[in-house]
Amino acid sequence: MTRKFTPAGTGGLVLEEKLLWEKGRKGRSAMSLVKSEVPVTALPEEICGNGPDWPDLSEQEVARHYTRLSTWNFGVDTGMYPLGSCTMKYNPKINEAMAALPGFAKAHPLLPAEACQGSMRLIYELERFLAEIVGLKAASLQPAAGAHGELCGMLMIAAWHRNNEKSGAPRKTKVLIPDTAHGTNPATATMSGFTEVKVPLGPKGYIELAQIERLMQDDVAGLMVTNPNTLGLFEQELADIIAMVHERGGLVYADGANLNAVMGYVDLGRMGVDVVHYNLHKTMSTPHGGGGPGAGPVAVSATLEPFLPGPRVIKNGDRYEWQTDLPLSIGRLHSFHGQFGVAVKAYSYILSMGQDLKKASALAVLNANYIKEKLKGAFDLPFDQPCMHECVFTDAKQRANKVSTLDIAKRLIDLGYHPPTVYFPLVVNSAIMVEPTETESKEDLDAFIAAMLEVAREAEETPETLHAAPTLTKVRRMDETTAARKPVLTGDMKVEGKQ
């Protein structure tokens, strides 16, 4: 077969840029400063300090600094970002404009209810939408990110058990977590006062009823489960597992990291899930921002509704009010009402999509299966079965040429792609986890597939190309070992500073 491969990018001009404090001159400013129109006052001398020695720059210096920095980055708008488990779908621009409307952006969070009915209505409606989409009873927007939503869910489960202990239920100290889970799950269990009991991956790629039954002892509070799991497979026995966990006095927390696969196809309420968290910055299209802000709302069953964080927005006639009398609530998890600005974007997305949310999931799954089919000849596929919204390959076929998952990932950068998630899930040796999302077109998938096939060809013919990659970027592979051994986390402005 002859194939002519055209990379998505070519080597371009990469501009250098100094550190902020190596620029500017004392006395410049990039901002209109307010001048005092009232008498000058002074604080007692003993509490006065000098203020921070930040550099002074002009407006153009600041604009150029960050514009140059931005050119060293890669975003979803730059190119395909098939980062497994992260759902890097397109971030609609209208949503940004809606969150920036002054009516929201300038709203103080402690305004009296009559002053902010529009903002409260948005919270109320988005909570209802989120509960409806997964088939649960109620929701809370307070958690600030996915891990925070997990914490919220597990704190509610802990509080529910504590409440039951009052009427004689046994003390629950452990929680079951499959090996395929994201690291946040066991970390969250610890923060919630539980000890992790590991559930090893079964031969079929999902957890099995018999296995959970054995582990579900009297001191187990319940199960944390990601579904579809991180192998991209739907948990086949989960509804029965949940029924059994409930029978034995436990509750089930569902990690919603992979909800983008199943909107409209799965009913978590019907399955018996007690709490699920959303990553609005995955499933509901809000931008990841290079590390947040995300938002991690939770939706819950009737069992856990009284334990939701408070205060909550309720509707009384056509008025929205704050409900603070919540005796079983786990309490507050955020300074105010959660990531409101992110909520505006997610609300806008849901209203733009409507019933098409289901189609989004269908196309996300179609895209992943399409990639899986097209690449399974060239790359090892440890679980060869229909996948959900992501598929997991390994470097097994390339290892003979001393080419690793890392080399494959780094070579993709030179070809114009953000690498997939690598070395996760941990249960698969040297995993390459691809999640295309529904917003990539067939042509874009075909181009990515061609790039992956090109990498596979190079692995056989010119493996040194992969070992050397990337070469077109601002920096090449970094010495992360030395960086961790001798960490330099703060610039030395005294030495480097020019002011």
Binding site: M31, L69, G193, Y265, V342, L357
Partner: protein, 447 residues
């Protein structure tokens, strides 16, 4: 739908490639007992134009058009257009956490600069890449101090923002054997440290505190260190640090804070930006992402995420925290703001805040208000109002002016202080002298 690129022909071709008969057939692996059987009960999909109209209607009643003379953890400050303009560059906004350093140097350098500028602001050696908000930064500071000291008693000033203390209590609730002790307020509006005893892991202070009063952090540090504990000091108004000594200069071991004031819209309370800083010796116990300097294989300088062995994706159940996504883009925005205002501009603006607050305070005194205490304040302060002020306050609300926060509604969270007629006021450089005069004039008109 404009976010879904697939044509019918694309779908047919792709289904054929994967060997499925229909889109629904892709979901055959889902067992019957897990399936959804009904459509979404959601409003019909809106066009961009319908959406904009609907959201504008909500925003019109969102609260952003009120004049608010209250801070309590959320402050209006000028944000130059430059900052949101640059921050909205999609290379920053639509990227993921910078796990692939070769194509993330923009985010990484910006966060390294953020860590540096915040460390200089608060007087600490290191700062992480951000926490969710001030309240969660404070809760994590407490957990961090417990790990460092291997102690289980957390002492917190009763003048820390009540919401932040609620979050702290939520975080500590499930942990066995942890005791949360709250120190009361003294008559001058500073924390009464006399009850601090035993073996505290940490004393948590906020300065300026919830009443706007600048605390004596040095004394707090001396008191807790005499008992072998750490001082964690924080703030919800970083502009105060333009004029007063930093927490680090006053002996803090850990510093937490909320940096909404530094370039972020108030946005009904979120997203905000949590700050967490500490001394170098505690670096292995700080949660969250850290950006560090590194060299590439050619010896070229750059940046990477580092010390990941503290974190959940490596350490799992033994991680220092479960935090993953934080407030990265808010930290970037904050860095841009700090670059724009500069050290000189920051100090000058802080002075304007101090002066305007003093001006409002003296204006209120002329109208019969009494200061709550003589202790120093920055841009937020408590006044005892004249008898009829409740009615005046309600009348001002009808003009969309929020002239103070009635602290009697917060009495339960602030025991030991007489709050029946106490109101918390705040003012920043966004209010001109003319606007303050107009406010005073309105108050002076009575009910």
């Amino acid at each position: 739908m404009r976010y879904l690129p697939h044509t019918q022909a694309d779908i047919a071709e792709m289904l054929a490639a994967v060997g499925a008969e229909s889109l629904d057939a892709l979901f055959e692996q889902i067992p019957e007992n897990s399936r959804r059987t009904r459509a979404f009960d959601l409003p019909e999909a809106m066009s961009e134009w319908e959406l904009a109209e609907h959201l504008q209607a909500l925003a019109n009643a969102g609260g952003g058009d009120w004049q608010v003379f209250v801070h309590a953890g959320s402050q209006p400050h000028h944000i130059p257009v430059l900052v949101p303009y640059l921050a909205s560059r999609s290379e920053f906004l639509t990227s993921y956490t910078p796990y692939q350093p070769e194509i993330s140097q923009g985010t990484l350098q910006a966060i390294f600069e953020f860590q540096t500028l915040i460390s200089r602001l608060v007087g600490m050696d290191i700062t992480n890449a951000s926490m969710y908000d001030g309240s969660t930064a404070m809760a994590e500071a407490a957990l961090m101090a417990m790990r460092i000291t291997k102690r289980r008693v957390v002492a917190v000033s009763g003048l820390v923002h009540p919401h932040w203390r609620e979050v702290l209590a939520t975080y500590l609730a499930p942990l066995a054997d942890v005791e949360l002790v709250t120190l009361p307020a003294g008559p001058d509006g500073r924390t009464d440290l006399s009850g601090l005893d035993g073996e505290p892991a940490v004393l948590i202070m906020q300065s300026p505190n919830f009443l706007g009063v600048i605390e004596d952090l040095r004394a707090a540090g001396v008191a807790v260190k005499a008992l072998g504990g750490l001082l964690a000091a924080g703030f919800s108004e970083p502009f105060a640090l333009g004029l007063i000594k930093s927490p680090g200069e006053q002996g803090a071991d850990i510093v937490f804070g909320d940096a909404q004031s530094l370039g972020l819209a108030q946005e009904f309370g979120g997203p905000s930006l949590g700050l967490l800083s500490c001394k170098t010796e505690y670096v292995r116990q700080i949660p969250g992402r850290l950006v560090g300097r590194a060299k590439d294989i050619d010896g070229k300088e750059g940046f990477v995420l580092t010390l990941a062995t503290r974190e959940q994706h490596i350490r799992r159940s033994r991680a220092v925290s479960n935090i993953c996504s934080n407030a990265g883009h808010c930290a970037l925005t904050c860095a841009m703001f700090m670059a724009a205002i500069g050290g000189s501009g920051f100090r000058q603006t802080a002075q304007v805040n101090l002066d305007l607050a003093a001006y409002l305070r003296s204006g209120l005194e002329k109208l019969g208000f009494r200061p709550f205490s003589a202790a120093p304040v920055f841009n937020e302060f408590v006044m005892y109002a004249p008898d009829n002020y409740g009615a005046v306050y309600e009348r001002l609300k009808s003009l969309k002016i929020l002239a103070g926060l009635p602290l009697k509604l917060w009495a339960e969270a602030l025991p030991g202080i007489s709050l029946e007629r106490a109101w918390l006021f705040g003012v920043t450089e966004t209010s001109s002298k003319t606007q303050i005069d107009a406010l005073l004039h309105e108050i002076g008109k009575g009910a």
